[in-house]
Amino acid sequence: MADYIIETQDITREFDGFKAVDGLSLQIKKGEVFGFLGPNGAGKTTSINMMVGLLKPTSGQVIIDGQDMEKFDKAAIGVCPQEIVLWDNLTCQECFKLMGDMYEVPKDVLKQRIGKLLEDLFLTDKANVLVRNLSGGMKRRLNLALAVVHQPEIVLLDEPSEGLDPQSRRVLWEYIISLRDDEGKTVILTTHLMDEADRLSDRVAIIDHGKLLKLDTPENLKKEIGGGDIVEITLTDALMNGKVIGKLEEMENVLSVLEVEGIINLRALNAVGKLPKIMDGIEEVGARMADLSVRQNTLEDVFIDLTGTRLRE
């Protein structure tokens, strides 16, 4: 039995000379929620498409539970695609039945499983409603449920929260945690939402431009860039940013000062206590402040620290 359920060995995928994924090597442990964090276009979906066998790597290899991708039992993987992929003219129940049959789930097991999934994802009263008549949130939940109808060992969720209302998102997050805690599944999650990666993932891989930038637990990642809070300052004249950054860098106990998309991003211990000095410094160089906010360190700040840019939408 392998220690890692999925292992990618230096996988690369090119599309017409463009490297969507560039030498990605990582190992995913059994029973963990593994987050892929990165902006849109970072190569997350391409990476998981290679992991499930929808896409062949241009080079490199994917090993699942110690076996080559080609030989692995398809039923061990369940995939929830980023887009809503459903049959509009079937009912929820019929969609479940179809996918259960496609994975050769025994009829009695399937019946029980459908009932549980409908209940867990609050779709019981919609069981016989045509998919085309469901709300967006319901479709999202059904989209996820179809990926796990055959009880796969590995569940891949590609941007599962995309387009969800807060209520549906909460249902989804609870369900993802229950997949790990109650059913012992390995969950691989791609997201560009900091909050989602932070709250759900045991480990997070930060990926951008097809490359793995960092892989660790959310706590370690946040620790790695150091403690402190984040002060975000917007000046009335962005041309003054350089001068202000120069001034702020001279201050004591300031850990880092960066300009990110026209906003000054300052990380410092006891940031609130330093606010008067910060404002004085801004005035000294003749700049005027349009906005200022203070918040806790997040995974996005890890991303900013690594790339110098925010996560792109």
């Binding site: 896409l55 695609p81 992929v85 003219n89 055959h150």
Partner: protein, 420 residues
């Protein structure tokens, strides 16, 4: 039995997409009505086909009477006089002219066809008469002698893209074959001493339309082909439907499961076959309702249903092959039309075509719909039964199975494997 689950899914999707289903079913009705109104005469009497005759024939002297006869003129007269059965309307509106004039009129479609009678036509007819006399009076000697080497070729010229030419040439081919048969029969009668037979008399053959086709309109001749054309176009709908599964991503979901290409395509074949059954019934009912004359009674229609459904299943298989090569349903419709329309000409849906040879191989014989057209024509136009259609039906079934197998292989290869 994964294919069965796919069949149920496809059937439900088809039935619940009422608009889509309506258009699929409406299409053959609309199609048959248009062709029925255009070519059916709709209660009007039959109209003569405009025929130009270019006669290069040189007269010959008959050995029995010493009379000089120009058989080209005789044939021309016969075509001028020929009438629809039980009608005063002539089969052809004949005009004699030069070859250049005929070509000009063909190009402008002012005439439907031109018949070019070669200069050795009378010589050939005479050779035929002599050979017939010999085989009738002394069969033993005739069998040892070589047949006369005086073949002449009558040219039926016309615009092959012109529907009227297709109909005219079909009638002309039948009339000319009958002309030759009549010469042989009358010569034999004359030799055996049938009273009153003279060369000029035996050439006054009565032109009879092919048995059972006396009251046929153009629509009646083309209706079997129209049925095939309509079911061929179903390939486009099947390709678009399968491609939609690719576009919406549901195919990727299925692809990740244990489903195989055969399950998906055989499962899809079942509900689409039901669509074909309904479509063919609609086509036959509408055709009959607007005055289609067919032969063989209800049995012919029932056999036609079977033949049409086999052709339809072949179209579904073709649609699956098309779906293996396109990215979206717009491409499916474009490629589908690009393939099915020329193919309907190749298989002779609009008018009979000789075998289309590609590198010496009769290409159209490998298309199941060629045999569907033949079987339907045999059933509906000539009133044939199982004996007449057995061969084309068996061949079309074999070709349909092959086409479906090709569909499974290419679809699985192009759509169900990991993308390269």
């Amino acid at each position: 039995m994964k294919f069965f689950s796919i069949a149920i899914k496809d059937l439900k999707e088809l039935v619940r997409d009422r608009k889509g289903l309506f258009f699929i079913m409406l299409f053959p009705v609309f199609f048959m009505l248009v062709f029925g109104f255009a070519f059916g005469g709709m209660g009007e009497s039959n109209t003569p086909h405009k025929l130009a005759i270019v006669n290069y024939d040189k007269p010959v002297t008959l050995p029995t009477t010493g009379e000089s006869v120009n058989f080209g003129n005789n044939l021309t007269q016969l075509l001028e006089d020929a009438k629809y059965e039980d009608s005063d309307v002539h089969l052809f509106n004949v005009t004699k002219m030069s070859e250049n004039e005929a070509d000009e009129l063909l190009k402008s479609r002012d005439i439907d066809a031109a018949l070019i009678i070669p200069d050795n036509f009378s010589e050939s007819v005479l050779a035929l008469i002599n050979h017939t006399i010999m085989t009738t009076t002394n069969p033993l000697a005739a069998s040892e002698s070589t047949p006369p080497d005086a073949t002449s070729t009558l040219i039926i010229r016309g615009d092959t893209g012109f529907m009227n030419f297709g109909v005219s040439q079909s009638i002309l081919v039948g009339v000319l074959a009958q002309y030759q048969d009549e010469i042989v029969i009358h010569t034999q009668n004359a030799v055996r001493g049938t009273p009153g037979t003279q060369p000029t008399v035996f050439l006054n053959s009565k032109v009879e339309p092919i048995e059972g086709t006396q009251n046929f309109t153009t629509f009646d001749f083309i209706a079997p082909g129209m049925i095939v054309f309509a079911i061929l176009l179903l390939a486009t709908a099947v390709a678009a439907s399968l491609t939609r599964e690719v576009e919406t991503g549901t195919l990727a979901r299925l692809k990740l499961s244990k489903m195989r290409g055969f399950d998906l395509l055989f499962g899809g074949l079942i509900p689409w076959s039901l669509v074909v059954v309904v479509q063919v019934i609609i086509l036959l009912v509408v055709a009959v309702a607007i005055g289609f004359h067919w032969q063989g009674g209800i049995n012919s229609l029932l056999w036609s249903l079977l033949v049409g459904v086999i052709g339809g299943i072949a179209s579904i298989a073709l649609g699956m092959i098309i779906a293996a090569f396109v990215q979206n349903d717009r491409q499916a419709v474009n490629l589908g039309t690009l393939i099915t329309v020329p193919m309907s000409f190749l298989v002779g849906a609009f008018y009979p075509l000789p075998d289309v040879e590609i590198l010496g191989v009769p290409f159209n014989a490998f298309l199941p719909w060629t045999h569907t057209v033949k079987a339907l024509t045999s059933l509906l136009t000539y009133g044939g039964g199982w004996n007449e259609i057995a061969y084309p039906v068996v061949v079309s079934v074999i070709l349909t199975v092959i086409l479906f197998a090709i569909g499974v292989v290419v679809f699985s290869k192009n759509r169900l494997k990991a993308e390269n």
